[in-house]
């Protein structure tokens, strides 16, 4: 599932414009739908078996919204997504992803194309929004454990001069690694925390869905799945 940087090939030339943002969201809807059962199963193990259903409902609604008309800027796309998720997902993930996309949108301003540093800023803003809402720290076995390494990897890549798609690919890879690394952790936030030590041995559903979303972002920018 990890995504390789694609500097030098056709993908690298992709501009992160409004069309990219729309592609990202359409791809996310598809990958969430494909992984609906997986996310339900992960949540079934340490939660209440609804994460896949919740996100599928939410991104399904995003698809309809996008069918109704395309917003003008990447930020406008993300804001639409934020509002839609907020009003259709519910549970913990709804407000958290809603806030993440809202902060991400805000960080982009009215740019029509997102630069490498903009990508890093967007992911950091999303992560900060989630932390502000959910008060989770790294290691609490939540989606923060995917967003935080993603934000750091994006920052590092951007500083190292990577292209915007490369920054996204770095973020996606780091999110994926972060999600995998939640497996041995004991949850301290969210529903899994009630399980105490029994929460160890399962990946966190929200961390896994975060990795899927960022993977879709990278792929929509031309990144290739390893």
């Amino acid at each position: 599932m990890s995504v390789e940087g694609t500097a030098g090939d056709a993908g690298a030339a992709t501009t992160l414009d409004t069309a990219w943002a729309v592609r990202w969201m359409r791809d996310t809807a598809q990958v969430v739908s494909e992984n609906r059962a997986l996310l339900i199963d992960l949540d079934r193990a340490i939660g209440d078996a609804d994460h896949g259903e919740n996100l599928d409902r939410g991104f399904g609604a995003v698809l309809s919204k996008l069918d109704d008309g395309t917003p003008e800027t990447p930020a406008a796309v993300l804001k639409l997504v934020a509002m839609t998720l907020m009003s259709t997902v519910g549970g913990a993930a709804g407000p958290l992803y809603g806030t993440a996309f809202l902060r991400a949108a805000t960080s982009l301003g009215d740019a029509t194309a997102v630069e490498p540093s903009g990508v890093a800023g967007m992911i950091a803003a999303a992560r900060d929004g989630i932390v502000a809402r959910g008060k989770a720290e790294v290691g609490d076995k939540t989606m923060v454990d995917a967003w935080t390494p993603a934000a750091e990897a994006a920052q590092t890549a951007a500083l190292a001069g990577a292209t915007a798609p490369e920054v996204l690919a770095a973020a996606a890879n780091a999110a994926h690694a972060g999600a995998v690394a939640t497996e041995p952790l004991i949850a301290r936030k969210g529903r899994a925390s009630y399980l105490g030590e029994r929460s160890a041995g399962h990946q966190d559903p929200g961390a896994v869905s975060t990795a899927l979303i960022l993977q879709a972002a990278a792929e929509a920018a031309g990144g290739e799945v390893a």
């Binding site: 340490i46 609804d50 259903e53 549970g91 959910g134 009630y194």
Partner: protein, 333 residues
């Protein structure tokens, strides 16, 4: 999985629709966004009470909408807290000018969605207070978790705060009474067999034929301890002990006790549990002043039960006895 449903995704809409038809004298169902208000909402001058949460816990919350209890219920998807776009209009719809109290069960999702909604309703000019119900003693280390869950105690908070609102108490007063109930109510549950979430299609957890899940939550999430099956008296003791300890119940205390079915347990079994609770509390010199035995806050068709104990004071008992007229709780009316 066999369920008396049509499309798994239509379960909430269709059952709330049926509920609305069956109780058309009591409630109004508002579709899209979905919420339920009492027929005569908003009641002018009365504090409005709104609660909500994931569906699958019926009769909670819609079954408790009506005189002397909730003004509005906001059902989310099955086991998924509702969204602000449902909570905001529900809040507005029951504001009779005296403000609105949100009764929120302590789950990350419920807290975040109600928090957002309260903020936006306030921005629209409605005074909103919130109480967080967190009565589940199964969650031990609240420092290292999302905190204790809100479970059966919610029913008692809704009833007693609802009575205070009906009596004409102001927003601060109703909030204070609700908080006092929260502070004095504790619960603990057990599952003998898991439930199956319609959209998931497989049981929420797997229990062997001789295992039970102590401290189970109402979202079909596994509990804290899995132990070998015991008899009803033994299990009841396991539910009651941590409640007594946590409330420091002592001789002379008066209580309201609820033995609640999780959805798939026969009433006869609940009464067997209640019998043991009564014996144990009597042994401690603790009085049961009022009681509820039945399905009040369920987890779909889960087999199991939960025990809720409220240390009651005079005012709570007085409020308890005032008329209530909802689909699932009714007396004096």
């Amino acid at each position: 999985m066999k369920k008396l449903i049509n499309d798994p995704r239509a379960v909430v809409d269709e059952s709330v629709e049926g509920f609305g038809i069956a109780h058309a004298d009591l409630v109004t169902v508002h579709p899209q966004p979905l919420f339920i208000t009492r027929k005569d909402a908003p009641v002018q001058g009365k504090v409005g009470l709104v609660s909500g949460g994931g569906s699958g816990h019926e009769p909670l919350h819609a079954g408790f909408v009506g005189r002397g209890m909730l003004d509005a219920a906001v059902p989310g998807a099955v086991f998924t807290s509702p969204t602000p776009d449902q909570i905001i209009p529900a809040t507005a719809a029951v504001d009779g000018g005296a403000g609105v109290l949100h009764i929120v069960k302590n789950y990350t999702g419920d807290v975040l969605n109600f928090e957002t909604a309260a903020e936006m309703a306030e921005a629209d000019g409605v005074s909103v207070r919130s109480v967080l119900v967190n009565d589940d003693v199964a969650v031990e280390d609240s420092l290292y978790t999302a905190g204790r869950r809100g479970v059966g105690g919610t029913v008692l908070v809704e009833r007693i705060a609802g009575a205070a609102a009906e009596r004409g108490d102001g927003l601060d007063g109703v909030t204070a009474v609700a908080q006092r109930v929260v502070d004095n109510v504790r619960s603990m549950g057990v599952a003998l067999a898991a439930c199956t979430v319609p959209h998931a299609g497989v049981p929420s957890f797997d229990l062997a034929e001789d295992e039970i899940e102590i401290g189970v939550g109402i979202h079909g999430e596994p509990g804290r301890h899995r132990i070998a099956m015991e008899d009803a008296d033994g299990i009841t003791q396991r539910l009651l002990d941590p409640i007594v300890a946590d409330l420091s119940l002592t001789s002379g205390d008066r209580t309201i006790v609820m033995v609640n079915g999780m959805g798939g347990t026969p009433a006869s079994e609940l009464y067997i549990v209640f019998r043991k609770v009564a014996q144990l509390l009597e042994g401690l010199g603790v009085g049961i002043e009022r009681s509820l035995v039945g399905n009040y806050i369920t987890a779909l068709e889960m087999q199991g039960a939960s025990l809720t104990v409220l240390r009651a004071d005079d005012e709570m008992l007085e409020l308890w006895d005032t008329p209530v007229h909802t689909a699932a709780l009714r007396w004096g009316a």
